[in-house]
Amino acid sequence: MASKKVLVVDDEIHIVHVVAIKLRNNGYEVVTASDGAEAFEIACEEKPDLIVADYQMPFMSGLELVQKLRSSEATRDIPVILLTARSFAIEDKQKEDLGISQCLSKPFSPKELLENIEDILYQRDLVGHSADISRSLDS
């Protein structure tokens, strides 16, 4: 099975770096971006399996990025994990509406982030699998 691709977006270069190393060490392919606009472009081009984004970024916040991703056909279904220094910044309803899979508050543990990513991708695979099975059964 081909390795999963994760896009990591943060204006803090150290955070991007550490997440990238953690994910690469665990067999993921990683692409990075330092702001929302760049992240959107890369997401459209690379079509990653998951996006890890910082909430507060210059020019385009993590939330704005998610809104933009959701409005575009190509990126609508990509799961997103938001990293935020403000635990109260996003309400549950907003989280649900925008399809944000998970919010991790900073400081975060790379290990926990990895576990979350694995969980989300596994569940998606499962859903995709069952969809495949039901499709094959139908045919």
């Binding site: 204006d11 955070i15 550490v18 997440v19 953690k22 220094a85 403000r86």
Partner: protein
Amino acid sequence: MRVGRNLYAIVTGIVLSCLLIGGLSEWQYSGAEEGWRFANFMQRWGPVALLCYIVVAVGVIWLGWCCLRLAGTITSMAKHLKQDKSAHIKPYGNAVINVLSEAVNERLDSYTHYIAQLEKQIKDLQIQIQLSQRRGKNTEAIIYSIRDAVIVVDEFDRLLMANEAAGRLFNFDITSSQHKPIGELVDPDKSEFVDILCHSRQSKARATRKEIGFLKACPEQSRRDAEPKTYDCIISCVYEGSPNAKEWGPHDQSQRVCGAVAVLHDITREKQIQQAKTDFVSHVSHELKTPLASITAYSEMLADGEANDEKTIKEFCSVIQSQAKRLNRLIEDILNISRIESGMVKVEKKPVSLTILIEEQLQMIKSAASEKNIEIIGQKPIVFDQVYADKDMISQVIVNLLSNAVKYTPAGGKVMIETEVDETANLVRVSVTDTGVGIPENEIEHVFDKFYRVDARKKYAKGTGLGLNLVKQIVEKVHDGRVSVTSKVGIGSTFGFELPLAMGETVQV
């Protein structure tokens, strides 16, 4: 008059007796037997009768004279009393009059006493009236001079009293608006206040407190630039017959409310400060969490053995170190600003060379600049540029200006620092010029304000809004210098500061 009356009495008496005698003699000479008998009788008893008549006449005259004298006395007494109300009646030597005058005197005495008492009471009452009038005026003056708006309404929500502040706030004339319904006086955009006032009066609650926000429309201010204001509004009901505060307690619903007093206190400034504090805490916690996040993540990676080789381990460690330094710098910034503000800062001023200080700070900023590929152009060495200053504080100023310049300059830009000595003005001028995002003209005057962050810059990079405020505080408050800024959006900014030259002292570094 008295003589006239007496004469009249005598003449009347003589005329009457003459008529009687005439009548009798007529009767005597009529020839009747009875007439003769009467004549004999008269001859015998005539002198006696005359004597009797004279005696009676004298008696009558004397009696009349006495009566007239009595009347005269009483008249003079009355005149006397009329003229002088407080005087006593003199004894007139007449027993009856004396009894009367004594009785009148007694009554007079008691009346005089009573009048004196009444007069005293009237005086007391007048004093009390004056006092209460003065008290009333004082109370009014106190209410008028209160800076908070005070409005008193009666049980039908008509205006009883309003002070000047209330007149200004609600834009009505306080003298001509009495007894008008409050709803008509207050502008429709402030009807929220009227609703709350009526509601709390009807509810009979002792006191109602609510925050009300409205646009303050001053007569001299057009509504367009009226700024929104927040008021803390307290409405207290006035109960009938309980003017004393001692009756505070759970109020009785059956008590009649005869009006309400509303006090509106402007809390706009407090709200702003509160908001600024909340924003500050939120900014600061975010700023503190960012380096902390790196430290946590990298140390966890090291502990988990995710760093495979020596080079990566070293790299992780250096990140942890630099982020710890960043965290420390932030905390120092916050502490310094609060210390300078509270006047608790310890200043150690010595003559120091700015060139050397700048050189030190340039070394510190270089790594951050090279990360963003920003070229830093240092200054040419200047021989005589020592200032009398606190070395650590001025270092802080320089590093704040340099790090700001690097922070807000896009990758590949330039940052230049220059020192200029103006010997005629006895100043050293340091300026930091960047090719950064710049500051819009309308925001430039606020950049040194605490917590202020230029909108465009806010999006560009993170910050607490403290760095430039710290620069200003250190330069102006601690060193009597001056800060300056010029900027053009998209081209860059120049931040500078001036410090007085230290003359004729040895330079210590």
